[in-house]
Symmetry: C2
Subunit: 122 residues, 2 copies
């Protein structure tokens, strides 16, 4: 009897109609969410093969090794998958330079305030 997608030990990532799935990068040390990017099958394969996070850049329409130009690479410690296998969490060691293209540690440096505007961390 086939096991359900939730209970199987078979890794069968489900990419969307656009061939992409979201991957949430989390700092392996602090547990903090760093960024969200998208992977296609090739990005996932390159990530597994090299041990460094690769994503598909939707804006640039090309494969992208995170940190390829900035040096702020992400060494992948662990890959986790969710119940229905359509989202990944990557536990990463983030190299200096930050996960965010603005140079910040995380892309989530703003919180929504009660007045509907954004506040910056520190």
């Amino acid at each position: 009897m086939a096991q359900s997608v939730e209970e199987t030990t078979a890794f069968a990532p489900r990419f969307g109609a656009d061939g992409l799935m979201p991957a949430v990068a989390v700092d392996a040390g602090t547990g903090r969410v760093l960024m969200l990017a998208y992977m296609n099958a090739q990005a996932l394969a390159l990530t597994q093969e090299t041990g460094f996070a690769h994503y598909w850049s939707r804006s640039r329409g090309r494969m992208w090794k995170k940190g390829e130009s900035s040096g702020a690479v992400q060494k992948v410690i662990e890959i986790r998958v969710d119940c229905d296998q359509d989202t990944l969490v990557l536990l990463v060691d983030q190299a200096p330079g930050g996960a965010c293209h603005t140079g910040r540690d995380t892309c989530f440096y703003r919180r929504l305030g009660p007045d509907g505007t954004l506040g910056f961390d520190e």
Copy 2:
């Protein structure tokens, strides 16, 4: 002079062509990633108005208050947005019953092993 999307305090969420944006729910107490779901503008508005996480269910094609049937609601403590304002992080107090429809605390209860198969936590 208009500020860039990365540096503005104006909240201007950028939904995708399908009207959706990913929202990562994080446990406000432990910092653990619980799940990823999608919001349209109405789900975000309902979340802000009620203080409880609402999502758009892609599989069911309808609005969904998380925990509406199970009781495992998510009280939203903080909403964060990323640099280009196309992804949200919700810090939530997760009610008993777990974030995952399988009854587990988190949807990310499996990790990818070196042999390419999934291992379960515990």
